[in-house]
């Protein structure tokens, strides 16, 4: 369901203010949900963070679950998760590591994702469908990219693209949780890079291709 669009959004005045208000609410909700989860947050908290009353908030988002879905979609647009098609110029490893470092640097992004994803497996959670579809889409996307690499001989023999796709996503999510609970003890990007180094083979220069080449290239 698309969010409410004012019927008389004709000119500039009220529409601009309304869009600004909505953004303020989404920013606030992002922070509050990240800190306390969906069930642990109240609309009053969000409204306070956004500098308005709880009833004004409900004027823009008619219910708490509507607000949640809007926050999830807004998160996608911020992080590029799910919206950005894989850039053919960028390698899979580079894309994953760049995204991981980006998420690590933007406060609240990982907190929001992790807590909502955990909550989403419960019965009747309004974000359940979102995460189910997200995982399905991501598995397909990574599986396709890995299959493509397999066709180029860039996948380690014996590695199944579908399995590796699900595993990459799983590793990513799981290491985020550990990092949130012990940021100093876990190297998120390092774990992802190590896994990708295990699964992928370095691009071989056809002229230098030798039978005795080591399959593992130590990346600085």
């Amino acid at each position: 369901m698309s969010t409410k669009e004012g019927p008389q959004t004709s000119r500039r005045g009220p529409y601009a203010k309304s869009a600004e208000r909505r953004r303020a609410i989404l920013t606030a909700a992002h922070a509050v949900f990240a800190a306390h989860g969906y069930r642990g947050s109240s609309l009053q908290d969000v409204a306070n963070h956004a500098g308005m009353s709880q009833t004004s908030l409900l004027h823009y988002f008619p219910s708490k679950s509507d607000l949640l879905l809007a926050v999830l979609n807004w998160r996608d647009s911020i992080t590029g998760d799910g919206t950005a098609p894989p850039d053919p110029e960028e390698s899979l490893s580079d894309a994953v590591l760049r995204q991981a470092r980006f998420n690590e640097d933007v406060p609240g992004v990982l907190e929001l994702y992790t807590v909502l994803c955990g909550e989403a497996v419960t019965e009747g959670h309004p974000g359940r469908d979102y995460f189910t579809q997200r995982f399905e889409r991501l598995r397909r996307s990574y599986a396709r990219q890995l299959a493509q690499l397999a066709g180029e001989g860039r996948l380690r023999p014996g590695v199944d693209p579908d399995t590796a796709a699900a595993s990459l996503i799983a590793l990513w999510d799981g290491i985020q949780t550990q990092w949130l609970l012990a940021p100093g003890s876990v190297d998120m990007a390092g774990c992802l890079r190590a896994y990708l180094d295990l699964v992928l083979l370095p691009e071989e220069d056809p002229e230098r291709a030798s039978a005795g080449a080591l399959p593992l290239a130590p990346l600085g």
Copy 2:
């Protein structure tokens, strides 16, 4: 308490009944928390499942957070998570896969773990310390076992035991989440086995040791 003789039930009756009641509450709380999470569950729900009033429940567990910690510790004793030292007779792979299949077969175990772990990263969640310590302990345990295997030349060259330990746990947690949201599309044990097959090398028969592999000092 007083040594006066009480009713006939004063010796073993109440104790036995009390322990039984506590177990009934823990069973109920396990199911309810698994279905709705900690914040999404009410003591009334748990009490209904346990067949008693909400106030009677509070007689055994003085607060909701106390009940949560009791459920988490009870879960450890059921699944053996955190309590069972690694069996020297069983290989790391076998132990991981056996545990994964066990968790998959016992209803509610994965649901409970996943949702509580997600919730635990939020501020002020009573389960936060539990999960922080659990991850720390598990990382140490797996890292030690992997380092041992590395000493036996059973670890793929270039694999860091600490990184692999965190990654194994992360992959495990993450694949559980995906499995809960799409049981038919994800093969939990398959992903774990694939990862372990990537990281570990098959045990080499010393007589068949090839020149390509460098057998380090075979300690024990």
